[in-house]
């Protein structure tokens, strides 16, 4: 049993790896045709991610820099794990949660508000309460979309997008000049009050004054384990997977599909809300109208979930990749002779874009390579064809299928 499970996990990792490698090769071609050396650029990106810290021969000043870079990679990856899981969990029930950004936004407003009032509270209780309330409001925000779907059949793609904009605009109104939550010391700046120093999440690695790595990354990993446990080891997870595979069959087996939609979305929202909590208390300490309108954490979560194929470990790995890309492609700028600084940030977008594009077309690529059968593709389809709706043991659902929760839509 063990070895077959391992084999299956190995198999489902192959395709995302091919996807990522292809994206890197194609982006390398872009570098090549724009007159840059892809190999040295990728070397610089790798060093910029701080992953060279893992090499024992990197020493002295380089090691200090590498440590800082790695801290930033992990700081960036932690919320992506959570928003990625938020999107992935919805995929499991056959919903497409585009609303992680909105859920993240409402949660960050609540977290920063709770964090800057009730100042006489015990710090530990205060942090926990603020992050918890943020997650709760995020859950409620997402559950709205689940309820709209369950009660009226409103498509969650539309409703979550609309809820995103409501969240983003209301939040930027709250902190804008003269807005009700604008900080009292923030003369002329559209930012909230700042969270007091004793309420910062403890920094476990690096200088706390210079955005070292906080404990938020552990919270993200705990949630990833929780996600795995819910999906694989709980009745709820079984229902979620069953509804995701075939809502009609699930209803026929006595499952409450409407309830599944609402509960699933609430859990998705809680995940995205936690991402906001660890950002606000980990490094951000305040929320501004500008960060609200420029944050991409929730949207990147979609790409992370797609690449991670909706599994816990896959999402963690994909979040690390995206976090590393953000950190790495920026550090490359340190050497303007290796790549034009005006183009360097676009490189992140090119690679991310290629990953998303290839993830959604990997079936085509695999067919071209003649790989599908060997890798076990087509099995889930065969299962569905047999009407075996409860054969929901496929850990790596075809994301293209997940994108089409309802046939004909």
């Amino acid at each position: 049993m063990k070895s077959s499970a391992l084999k299956r996990a190995g198999r489902s990792a192959v395709i995302p790896l091919i996807t990522v490698l292809t994206a890197f090769v194609l982006a390398g071609l872009v570098m090549l045709v724009t007159g840059n050396d892809p190999l040295s650029s990728y070397g610089a990106i790798f060093d910029g991610t701080g992953l060279n810290w893992l090499f024992p021969w990197v020493s002295g000043h380089n090691r200090t820099i590498a440590a800082q870079d790695l801290q930033q990679t992990l700081v960036a990856a932690a919320p992506l794990v959570l928003t990625g899981l938020s999107v992935a969990f919805a995929f499991r029930v056959g919903l497409f949660n585009i609303g992680a950004q909105g859920q993240y936004t409402v949660a960050s407003v609540i977290a920063v508000w709770v964090g800057t009032v009730f100042t006489s509270m015990d710090p530990v209780i205060h942090i926990v309460l603020a992050i918890f309330l943020g997650a709760l409001v995020g859950a409620g925000w997402a559950a709205l979309a689940g309820w709209l779907k369950a009660a009226f059949g409103a498509h969650e793609v539309i409703s979550t997008i609309m809820l995103n904009w409501i969240a983003i605009w209301v939040a930027s109104y709250l902190f804008q000049e003269g807005g009700p939550l604008q900080g009292t010391q923030a003369l002329g700046n559209p930012v909230s009050n700042t969270i007091a120093g004793n309420l910062h999440l403890p920094v476990i690695w690096g200088n706390p004054e210079l955005q070292g790595l906080d404990v938020g990354v552990f919270l993200a990993l705990i949630v990833a384990v929780l996600y795995w446990a819910i999906i694989r080891r709980s009745t709820l997870g079984y229902e979620v997977r069953a509804v995701g595979h075939n809502p009609t069959a699930a209803t026929a087996s006595g499952m409450n599909v409407a309830r599944s939609y609402i509960v699933t979305m609430a859990i998705c929202g809680a995940f995205a809300g936690l991402a906001a909590g660890i950002d606000v208390f980990g490094w951000e300490f305040q929320v501004s109208s500008t960060t609200i309108s420029t944050s991409q954490v929730g949207f990147l979560g979609i790409a992370v979930a797609l690449l991670g194929r909706n599994t816990a470990i896959g999402t963690v790995a994909a979040a690390l990749l995206f976090g590393a890309l953000e950190t790495g492609t920026a550090a490359i700028n340190l050497n303007p002779s290796s790549i034009n600084p005006e183009l360097a940030p676009q490189l992140t977008l090119i690679i991310e874009g290629l990953v998303v594009l290839l993830v959604s077309t990997d079936l085509i690529a695999l067919r071209l390579l003649g790989l599908p059968r060997k890798l076990g593709w087509g099995k889930p389809q065969a299962a569905t064809a047999r009407g075996d709706a409860l054969a929901v043991d496929d850990p790596a659902r075809d994301p293209a299928e997940a994108l089409r929760p309802e046939p004909g839509l």
């Binding site: 820099i65 930033q72 000049e177 559209p190 955005q211 490094w283 034009n340 991310e352 594009l357």
Partner: protein, 346 residues
């Protein structure tokens, strides 16, 4: 959906890159390389751009232009980091400081708190911040210099021009699209409104804030609304977002006014641009520090007198008023006109 917008932007860049291949790829990509001459110099100038990026056709772009000028004319080494989110502010400022930079320039008020954190950790590094008085940085660090612009002067000049054009053509309304209700934006608009009224006391003024500096769509919608209400001249003060406002002006056949950089290259419908020469400020701050002058804890103020503010190239419609504008500029220089910084119409 933004991720998809970003992806399509990425695709557009890829396409543009591919298209540019045949002609200019090699030359444009290498200009920054070949001009490097002074590895002997121990002075490194670091610029940290905000989330607008170096291709914002304004603010960050100008800071980078100033950096390149300092590299070419003063022989300093340079490095630039582009933030993709506010999570990058502290680590990027740190990176520049640890790299041993003599001067680190943070582009924009958004860096206020991050700079407060980093500046006190690196007391030997010199920092400068655009658009933010040093006194407002938390902890009031002595190694930070504010680079401030009297952008109300630029606003007044282009506003006056708008008033003159309106009077001559019988336009009743002009409008502004601001990125955010913050002093660095409202100063421009306040100047514009005062200038327009000075030239044409009856002119109707419209204004709207997009709460965005990056995405073009919101600014385009706001400008569409203003044009529907009769605005014939749209002044954008919203960075990359504001390019959308100018796009709306172009589509409806009215005039636009650019901001920060000279955006006249967008087309003949650009009346002129209100300038904020961030590049001069970056260059000047570098040169000052090289000569041992640094206003730690204080500010360098840029205005019409030291060529920090002004107006850009005039299009065919605006050209006849060149003399009047020059006269006005001289009056502002002489201190005869005190331009307000509070908006008449919000």
């Amino acid at each position: 959906m933004k991720v998809f917008a970003r992806l399509s932007a990425g695709a557009a860049v890829a396409a543009a890159v591919a298209a540019g291949l045949i002609g200019t790829a090699a030359s444009s990509a290498r200009t920054t390389r070949s001009s490097k001459k002074s590895s002997a110099s121990s002075f490194t100038l670091g610029v940290v751009a905000d989330t607008g990026g170096l291709n914002d056709h304004g603010f960050n772009h100008l800071a980078y232009v100033g950096e390149l000028a300092a590299h070419a004319k003063l022989g300093v080494k340079y490095q630039v980091l582009v933030s993709t989110s506010s999570a990058d502010y502290v680590p990027y400022l740190t990176k520049e400081a640890e790299n041993g930079d003599k001067l680190v320039v943070a582009v924009g008020f958004d860096f206020t708190d991050a700079l407060g954190q980093v500046a006190k950790e690196f007391p030997k590094t010199h920092f400068a911040i655009i658009d933010t008085p040093a006194q407002t940085i938390p902890g009031k660090p002595k190694n930070v210099e504010g680079l401030i612009f009297k952008s109300q002067q630029s606003g007044y000049l282009v506003g006056y021009l708008s008033g003159l054009v309106s009077k001559a053509k019988g336009y009743k309304t002009v409008s502004t699209v601001g990125g955010q209700d913050i002093p660095s934006v409202t100063a421009y608009i306040a100047g514009f409104q005062a200038g327009a009224r000075a030239a044409d006391p009856k002119i109707k003024l419209l204004n709207a804030f997009s709460n965005n500096f990056a995405d073009q769509a919101p600014c385009e919608t706001l400008a569409d609304n203003q044009i529907a209400q009769g605005s014939k001249i749209v002044f954008q003060v919203a960075g990359g977002c504001g390019l959308g406002a100018l796009q709306a002006a172009k589509q409806h056949g009215v005039y636009g006014i650019g901001v920060d950089a000279d955006q006249g290259y967008l087309g003949s419908y650009i009346l002129t641009s209100a300038l904020k020469r961030v590049n001069n400020a970056v260059f000047q701050a570098t040169q000052d520090l090289l000569h041992g002058k640094f206003t730690g804890g204080g500010n360098l103020v840029y205005d019409v007198n030291n060529n920090g503010t002004g107006y850009g190239r005039l299009n065919a419609v605006a050209k006849p008023y060149a003399k009047q504008l020059q006269k006005l500029l001289a009056e502002i220089k002489a201190g005869k006109i005190n331009v307000p910084t509070t908006m008449l119409v919000k």
